[in-house]
């Protein structure tokens, strides 16, 4: 089957590139860490929180968290629309 062959070809190419990348990245020694060093050095005095991850999530990058809360709200909204209560005999219209 053509589709299966294309899928296997894509998979093999991706496997090669991913394994090459996995073997060539140096582990345990990140190259660019200026921002994180700044957070570790100054995060506690600027936010007062001992947990630097929390101070990033809720202070430095709080807009990110706001968007994430909105995503969670949207998911709940979507699930509640999908499983809304129907009257007896009411059905989906898909034709």
């Amino acid at each position: 089957m053509m589709r299966t062959k294309v899928a296997w070809f894509t998979l093999v190419v991706l496997a090669g590139s991913l394994l090459f990348a996995a073997l060539s990245i140096p582990f345990g020694d990140p190259a660019m860490s200026d921002m994180d060093d700044y957070f570790i050095a100054h995060g506690q005095e600027q936010t007062g929180a001992n947990n630097i991850v929390t101070s990033i999530v809720f202070d430095f990058r709080a807009f990110d968290t706001l968007g994430e809360a909105c995503v969670l709200f949207t998911a709940v909204f979507g699930v509640s629309v999908l499983f809304r209560l129907r009257k007896k005999g009411e059905d989906y219209e898909y034709e």
Binding site: Q46, A49, N50, T54, F58, T65, A69, V76, S80, F83
Partner: protein, 159 residues
């Protein structure tokens, strides 16, 4: 699906629900001191509610907790989160400014910099936002599982 599970499981769920809830609120409240935070703690508390949903009949669970309770939990969490962020603007700061830190009031104790044993009354608005997000995630995850369980049941009763 409409039957509840055996008495052993129900009793275990009863006992474990208290500990799971207390542990979740501990994680939420100590989010600025120890590993954890609003999301993780809220997920732990939601796990307690999901344990009750699984162990008991759905009608029993809906007799104890209304769907509206969880919806209100989520709404109030989101409103508290955005309200805390917006409260900085009338006080003359920017959006999401940590205006309570170091003022000496609520959550405003000055923190000793560097390694310290951890004090609960620090970190300004971060604990408030932790609590807000914890309440929101609690309501959100519980209501997702509740709706999905309702969907399974209405599916099994047939169209």
């Amino acid at each position: 699906m409409s039957d509840s599970l055996s008495k052993i499981i129900r009793t275990t769920a009863d006992v474990m629900f208290l500990f799971i809830t207390v542990f979740g609120f501990y994680i939420v409240l100590h989010g600025h001191l120890t590993p954890g935070g609003g999301f993780q703690g809220g997920a732990v508390i939601a796990t307690g509610f999901i344990l009750l949903i699984v162990a008991y009949k759905l009608e029993d669970f809906l007799g104890w907790f209304q769907k509206r309770t969880f919806q209100n939990c989520e709404m109030s969490g989101l409103v508290l989160f955005i309200g805390t962020a917006l409260a900085a603007i009338p006080l003359g700061y920017l959006f999401f400014m940590n205006f309570l830190n170091g003022t000496g009031g609520l959550f405003g104790q000055a923190v000793p910099f560097g390694i310290n044993p951890g004090f609960l009354n620090t970190a300004g608005t971060i604990p408030i936002m932790n609590i807000a997000v914890g309440i929101e995630v609690l309501g959100g995850l519980s209501i997702i599982i509740l709706y999905m369980t309702t969907g399974i049941r209405s599916h099994e009763e047939g169209e």
